[in-house]
Structures are given as structure tokens and as C-alpha cells.
Symmetry: C2
Subunit: 316 residues, 2 copies
Amino acid sequence: MVKIDVKECAALLKEFDNYLILTHRNPDGDTLGSAFALHRALSRLNKKSTVRCIDTIPPKYSYLWNGIHNDDIEYDKIIAVDVADRKLLGEAFDELYGDKVFLCIDHHLSNREYAQHLLLEDRAAAAVIIYEIICELGVEITPEIANCVYTGLATDTGCFMFSNTTPTVHRIAADVMDKGADYTFINRLMFETKTLSYLKLEQLAVSSIETHFDGECAIMTITQDMFKKSGSDESECDGIAGLPRKIEGVKIAVTIRERLDGSYKVSLRTVEPYDAAKICAHFGGGGHHAAAGCDFNCSIDEIKSSLLKAIKEELE
Amino acid sequence: MVKIDVKECAALLKEFDNYLILTHRNPDGDTLGSAFALHRALSRLNKKSTVRCIDTIPPKYSYLWNGIHNDDIEYDKIIAVDVADRKLLGEAFDELYGDKVFLCIDHHLSNREYAQHLLLEDRAAAAVIIYEIICELGVEITPEIANCVYTGLATDTGCFMFSNTTPTVHRIAADVMDKGADYTFINRLMFETKTLSYLKLEQLAVSSIETHFDGECAIMTITQDMFKKSGSDESECDGIAGLPRKIEGVKIAVTIRERLDGSYKVSLRTVEPYDAAKICAHFGGGGHHAAAGCDFNCSIDEIKSSLLKAIKEELE
């Protein structure tokens, strides 16, 4: 594994002509925005690439690949974008591609260094790094590239609200807005549009919230039953893990989400100085300092008691 | 009334030494951030000023005036910041000061031109204009001024989410962040901190939502009874009017809020091309294209039927 910087990465990208670009499973705005921005930039250099994700890409992101003919191509090299761990490619993709990733472009300090070349920077979004690569490549930021970069920036910073937002993020946002990013459309679609069924799910989720340790920890639980009752589904729940952290006084917020197969996805959100990634590492998970996740295959009560033990340690 | 620009405004401010700075009633982050930024900039020019608001300033804004000794002073001139109409000073202040406002700095195109000098620009926040005045005055942006400007920008743009957010807003945000704005603290306080009682109020409010005109209009009602049941109060409700606009397909969102005295405050939020200010003008209210308000003194049913008539016209 060779660590490289933005300049070296741009040079590397110029060497080959056909790329397979992989995103992480359960794709979000940053992995998709970064992948399609890179695809669009490469095609302006007359290079071919295909973006692939193991999961179906939610239709709300369709504006990102609008106009792209994403046919399978013969590829020379594989690029993984915003993928901290080869397991996050998804099981089948990990088997197919996991040991063949030529270049990984990532912003998670927990990156497992599985790729031959790693461009890792501690930035708010992978899209920040992609923007810098595109500038380094000398490719003009088209309105379509601007949309992709803006989407990555905005979604990974909670629309510039989270503590990971830096002056650089704002300046890149300003630049891609100048270059045609349709931020009104994107913000409305990503942050302001909720279905009535989702609002009902939130109601049910709020009523499940319990607090611990003098209100410093809040746990919210979302069951499959709540999805049924509200008419909502998993695809609408991207931001819901941020909800319990909003409660006054809460330092560590936990969202336990039941999957269709009965397993549980746990998301942690923390306030400085508490480390979400450290808590999740106890359970084989990972992520960032302020936002991390892990999986469980036991009952909700067992999950809670395991988590509360680790959280108590962290709070102390 | 003389219309002036930023340069002329800076020159005017240099002419006198003692100012009374007025904000609008029900003060928000922009009127307060702008007023205290101006106060702090003036004091760096060795000018005295006092910021006054007819209503008690919510304690969450205390960081804005931290360290300021806001004693009443003898003043030469009155400045109103972010006050589109002298009535918005509040009744007693309107009587005392309404016809004596020397300078009004505002970003509402609906401004009633009540001041002797008017600096009116169509910007996302009054704080954008204040920032430009401070730069024109040659005053250094201290971390305290940076906090005030950031607060105005962030609160009036829904943390850079609303369609009024421009590249300039992002660039000013980046600059004041570089100059020490504690954006993590401010964002968390303004946007991410909700009490459990407020979350419960949202639950009740969501259950009141009704839709009209094939889902293009949503009406949410918040009664005093809901405040009682949830344990929440008016001071927590700044952003709640944005909620019904989030529903997929909604073009015109209405929030009807019962006041303690039994009157009703109506807030409209619209999606392009629908004009919230135009609808509210039918009922003696006003505001911006995408966000406006008006008052009613009749029953909820009467309010709804009056509004629905005006909304139907606008939708057609």
C-alpha cells in the first residue's frame, strides 16, 4: 500500500484509460456524488469509466448520473471512493473486487488500507478531495460536476451544520454554486423533502426515546413494526440517526434500527469530546469521531445493555 | 427618505458618536446578530451604542452580547436593523422611536421606507449587509463580531439550506469562520438543540397536518393546548413553520400558531414560483417571496377558509 497526495493521485489517474469506480454499499450523497464527479471529470479527459454500487441507487440521486451511459466496460484499474473498508463494498463486491482495488480515495481516518494506492485526507467529505483532484487534473467544473460535488459536501456536513464543516467546505460550495450547482433543487431534495409517512415514522421514533446517565445519553429505537405502521421504509431514514442528538444535554445519541432480516444497525452520534468511533470499535464497527456505527445480531435489550456499558466508560 | 449604499452608510455612521440600535420584536438570530455586530464594530471606532429590543431577548442568544455593557446612553441617532416596518419595532417602541429612525439597514424588499436613510439590499440576511459595512468601515472582524455575523447568516438561511443562500453567503461564512466564529457551538445551539418537550410538540403538530389541492398545500396548526400538553412554549418554535413545507409535493405550507391572547400568527413558506408575501399581503402581512407572515383575530376555521381562497388563486 502506497499513500499518495492529491497531485500524485491526479498523475496516477492520467496513466490509465478505463476505470471501474466503486462506491460503498447503502450509498449516500457523498460516495455517489464523488463517484459521479470523478466519472464526469475522467470522461472530459477522454477516459472511460463505469460507476458501480452493490445496492440499488435510490432514485432521488438520479440527477447525479443524468446523461451518463453507465455500460459495463473493460477496465484497467479499480477505484474505490469513500470506502473505508473493503467489506463496505458489500459481500459479493468484496469477493469480486476487494483485493484488486488500485486506488482508494477516502476521508475516513479509520480506513483499512486495503488498496494499492491510498489518498486519505481528514476532510469533511470525500467530495472535497475529489474537487481538489479535478482542479489538479485541470478539468473544468461543469454544472453537472458542480452538482455532484455540492451533493457530497452538503450531505456529509448536514448542509454545512455539522462540526466537520470547514471554511474550505464553504469556499468549495461557493465555487461550485458559481459554476452552476443547482443547490436549491439539491437542498430541497436532500434535506427538505420528507414524505408524510416519514414524518409519522419520526413521531413513533421520538416516542421511543429513552435517556440515561442524567440525560447525557439518549437511545432511540426504530422497529420494523414502526415502518409498517407509518408506511415509511429504510430508504427514507438517512438522517434519522441525527434526531436523538438534538435533545438538549445529550452528549451521546444512539439509534437502533431493526433491519428486515431481524439484525440491528446501530448509529452513534456524539458531541465533543466523546468518540463515537471508539465506542463502535468495541463491537466491530467504526466511522468518525462524531458519527459511527456498528451491527448487532441479538435482542434490543442485549444491545442496549452492551452499548450502555461502553458508553458509561466513554462518558467517564 | 434617502436611499443609500454600503459606502454611503459607512460614511454616515462615521459622522455621529452615539447610537441607539433597534431590532425587531420577537427577535431572531439575524436582527440580533446584525445589531450586536454593528454595536461591536462601532465601539472599535470609539463610538457608543446601545442595542434595544421591545421583547426580552431569548437567553440562548446571550453569547452575542457577552461582555457588552449595554447601559442606556444618550444617543444622537437611531438605527433600525432588519426592521422592514416601524410597526415591527413593537407598539411602544414604534410610538417612542418609529418616526425618528435616522438609518434603517434592511434586506426585506417589502421595507416601508419609514427611516430618513435606508440601506436596502436584496440579500439573504441583514448580516450580509452589516458584514459589508464593517469591511467598508475598515474595522477588523474580531471573533465576537464573527460570531454575530455568522449567527445572522446561518439563522436566516436555515444553516445555508434555503434558496436565499448565495455563493457570497458561503464566502462570508468561510471568512468569519477563519476569523474565529465558533460555528460548531452556534450551529448546535441554533439548529441542533431541541428539548424533549419541543420534540413532543412537533409530534402533536405533525398529527394536525392537513393537505389541500392535491397535496400542494399543507396546513399545520399549533394550539395553546399543544404547548400545555408537550410542556413546550413559543420561544422554542422559531423553526417549526418550516416543517409542513418539507412534505413531498407541498408548494405552499401554512403554519397557524395560537398566541397566548387567543390571536393567531400565520406563517407561510412557499416553493418557487409561488409568492408567500403576496398571499400574506391580502391579510395585511408581508415578508419575503419564500417566507412571509400575517396575523388573524378570528377562529381557526375562518383563518383556514380565508387562506385557502387566497392560496387557490396563487396556485392557479
